[in-house]
Structures are given as C-alpha cells and as structure tokens.
Symmetry: C2
Subunit: 287 residues, 2 copies
C-alpha cells in the first residue's frame, strides 16, 4: 500500500523536480502538486505539461497545508534555505531532497531539529537537457536512488520514501550520508574532474590547434562531462571537498604509477593497470 | 585524375585494412586487391564481402607484381616486418601504413633506404568492432587522415596518397611523424591513459562494491576507452613513450592545481579550470 501525499510542494521545477512531480502524479502518489520556482516560463511549462497542478513563485504561502516538501533546487540553495522552509512549513510535513551531495543537508536538517521529518535522497538520473521542458515522468525507471537516513530518522519515513521511489520503478539503496558522499566522490565527482583536467590539458598544450584538428571520438567521449554546468560543479567541489580531494589523491597514485611504468618500459606494470581497468569496465558495462 | 594501382597488397585485413581495401576497390583506385592475413576465416569474410579479390596467408608470393603495399597490421608488427616486406616486394612498389604511431615506422623505413617509396598514414577512424566482418568501405568518409612525409619523401608520392584518401572522402592533414606523435599523445593516447587510470582507481577503492552499485552514465562514458585491447595499448605506450609521458606530466600539473584549488577552497582557481575546459569542449563538439 502506497502512502498518498495530499499536497506535495516541489521547490525547484527543473529536470529532476518536474520529473518527480509528474511521476508522482501519474502514479497517484501525489494528490495535488504545487510547483515553486523562480522562472515563470519554466513553471508554466511544467503546468501545461501536467507535471504540476499549480505554479507559484511565492514559496511561503505555498507551504501551507503541505504534507510533503521536495527540495529540488541546486544543492547549495537547498542547504541554505532549509531553515526558512522548515520555519514556514506545517509541523507535520516531511521533507526530502534530490541533491547529489548529502552530508551538508543532512547535517543542516539535524542542526535544525528536523531529524524526524527529513530524509535525504539522491536519484542517479539525469540527461543533457535541463528544465521542465525536458522533464520525464519515466526518468527514474530502472535508476538508482540513494536514501540517506541516520540513527534518528524514523523507520516509517524511510519506508514511505522507499515505497515512493520503488513505485516510480527506481532501485533504492540505503546508506548514511557520509558513505554516500565518499562513494559518489569516486563514482561521479572523480570522472567529472578527470574530464575537466583532460580538456584543460589539451587547451593549454603547445600544439593546441593541431590537437583540436586531430581529436577523435575517444577524446570526445572522455571529456563529455566537461560540458556540464560549471557553477554546479564549483558548488559540489565545495560541498564534498574532502572526499573529492581524497579520491583525486587516489587517482594520482594510480596515475603516477602508470606514468612511471611507461617511462621505465615496465610492460608488466603497464599491463597490470590496463587489465585491472578493463576488468572493472567489463563489470560495470557487461558486453 | 586518380592514379589507379594495378595490384594492391593489403597486409592485415582487420577493420582498417579491409575497409581501405573495399573502399579503394569501390572507387576504382585498386584494380586488384590481395588480402594477406593469418586468419583464414577473417580472410574468407573479406573475400566473400567483396572487399578483396584474392586472399592468402602466404605473404611473400603475394608481393610479386604489387605496385602498392598497404601495411595494416598492428603497429609493432608493421615496424618489425618492414624489412622483409621491402626485401620481397618489387623495387617499384610504394608502401604506406595505417598505424597510430608514426615515428618508429618512418624511422625504420628511412633506415632501410625506403625513404623514396614509403609514406606513413594514420586514418583517425575506427569503431568498437574489429575484423573484416566489421569493415566498411565508408569508414573514412569525413574522417581525418594524417600523412607523415619527411624531407626525402617525393612530392608525387605525397600527392598520390593525398588523392587516394581524398577520393575516399577523408580529410587529409600533412605533418612530420614526430609532430604527429606529439599531437596524438594528447589527442588520443592521453584520454586512453586517463580512462584506464580512472577505472583502476575505482577498482582499487576501499568502497569498490558500493561504487560499482552507484556508477552512472558519466563514469561509463569517461571510461569507455578502458574497454580497448590492452595489448595494442601496451605497444603504443612503448612506441610513443616520450610524448605520452610528457602529456601525462602536463595532465598532472593541471590535476594537481585543480586538486589544490579544491582543497584550498579557491573557487576562482576551480572556476578557471572548469571554464577553460568547457570552452575547449565546446570548440571540439559545437552544440
């Protein structure tokens, strides 16, 4: 049996927020969805597409009567605005978010005394396009969603959110926020930094123009992530600083070993890195 | 006017060799193509598909009467067998190859006194599948092909090869072999090493199993190259050692700066790398 929320307020109706709103409505999880945003045009798109029932730029009035508040703003905004959100929401409302770094918002929720009403979530879903126009109620189908409770989170809240995401055909993992952030530092933030550094290396190379002319598919694939929004990644680098720096240092150890193996003609050491890498790749993308 | 070769011997009928054979036949550049290989099954595929006219595993007899010899074996084999090839080929035959590292084979050709008859080529074309079954006479359409003459290469040979590739709708660049290898070290070999090191870092991480579970599209794209054949890349690392090590060192400088900027909360330094990277990415993949 799925709990149905009577008034779900989605703060931030970008790709993820609008997709979740539409998905919850389509599956009957949300009776009435209010979208809150800054861009009237984007809100109107969400409403016209039937992803939300009601659109407003005025946050606090919208919170009245809400039983579920989904924070789907950029992650820095989510952390900094949680206080006012909580202050203006009904005492009975529960909160969740969809941010890609979890410890800062979980810590802030705890500090605000929201431990019993807040459960962080991170759906590993996205696409190149942004905004409500790109939203898709099927965006979460088959995707992983991480829930990050701590010892103070009520089991019923974890179960309610697990049911919500499972109803949207997502695969739910549960781990604490710190563990999530350490894992994501390697699984998501590290490839991002690698893509940036690779493109920046080519950009700064003495033979830049010839490099641009001779770039082929391999370089393009390996730097696809470098096209991502820079502001968002500056924020993530700040919010998940320590795990990212640690993951980057682990990469450096592998990198220096590989570099030395090549410089020293140590073919068995080169082969060891290449084979470990290919085996790992086959594990994550079975052919 | 295109020069037509009467008897083209393609040594190595894998993806590139068989594609070139079929493309040259289709455009009337090669009157008769002999494919030479080790695998009878692969040769038979090439012949059945009409990419070659004649198939043999016996190299030296095949060379009799050849006016064009295309070396399309793995690059290490190409360098090591150039001597016997030259010894058994008619004195009037010209040679080209398709390897991704050029200085070793160009140097070897010169050492063997073939400077007037050898012109290195590197078509930047490929796909995930290998062998004659995956060959495609349109593989080179719109792709870049680098020709690497030196001061001793006759202008007519450069022009003949330029016409050949242009007729196959490739875009031809001309540069010396050393420059080619330095450029490719960054445009092609560096992303390869980055992909290997990224996958190997995740493979060696303390939270490996959780990382595997939470990997999404970004990590997969950034490590796509790690699925490549390890033997080939061990060879390339050896043959283009110095430029690769230099490119890896340039990457390390960018990487360490980015790591320190994140560790030191230096947002303007982080943003500088991210913006340079995004700008470069937009230049190589205009949206």
């Amino acid at each position: 049996m799925n709990k149905r929320f009577e008034r779900c307020v989605v703060v931030g109706t970008g790709l993820i927020g609008a997709s979740l709103a539409g998905a919850g409505k389509a599956r009957g999880l949300f009776a009435h969805v209010v979208g809150v945003g800054r861009s009237l045009a984007n809100l109107e798109t969400a409403r016209e597409r039937g992803l939300i029932d009601e659109a407003t730029t005025d946050l606090f009035p919208a919170l009245a009567g809400a039983d579920l508040i989904v924070i789907a703003t950029p992650v820095v905004t989510a952390v900094s605005r949680l206080h006012e959100l909580a202050h203006h929401a009904p005492d009975t409302a529960v909160f969740t978010d969809v941010g890609s770094v979890k410890l800062p918002i979980v810590t802030e929720a705890k500090r605000l005394g929201l431990a019993s009403r807040f459960l962080g979530a991170h759906p590993l879903a996205g696409k190149a396009e942004t905004g409500a126009g790109a939203a898709d109620p099927d965006l979460f189908r088959g995707r992983r969603v991480v829930l990050t409770p701590d010892d103070d989170t009520p089991a019923e809240l974890v179960e309610a959110m697990r049911r919500l995401w499972t109803t949207l055909d997502a695969e739910v993992s549960v781990m604490d926020a710190e563990e999530h952030d350490v894992v994501l530092a390697t699984s998501s933030h590290l490839p991002q930094m690698v893509a940036y550094a690779l493109a920046a290396t080519a950009d700064g190379a003495a033979m830049r123009e010839e490099i641009v002319r001779l770039i082929a598919g391999g370089f393009r694939d390996t730097t696809r992530l470098a096209a991502s929004d820079a502001d968002m990644w500056v924020d993530i680098a700040r919010l998940n600083r320590e795990p990212i720096v640690e993951a980057m240092d682990e990469f450096s150890v592998v990198w220096d070993d590989l570099r030395d193996a090549i410089a020293d003609h140590d073919e068995s050491a080169i082969r060891a890195v290449l084979n470990a890498s290919r085996k790992f790749r086959r594990e994550i993308v079975p052919s």
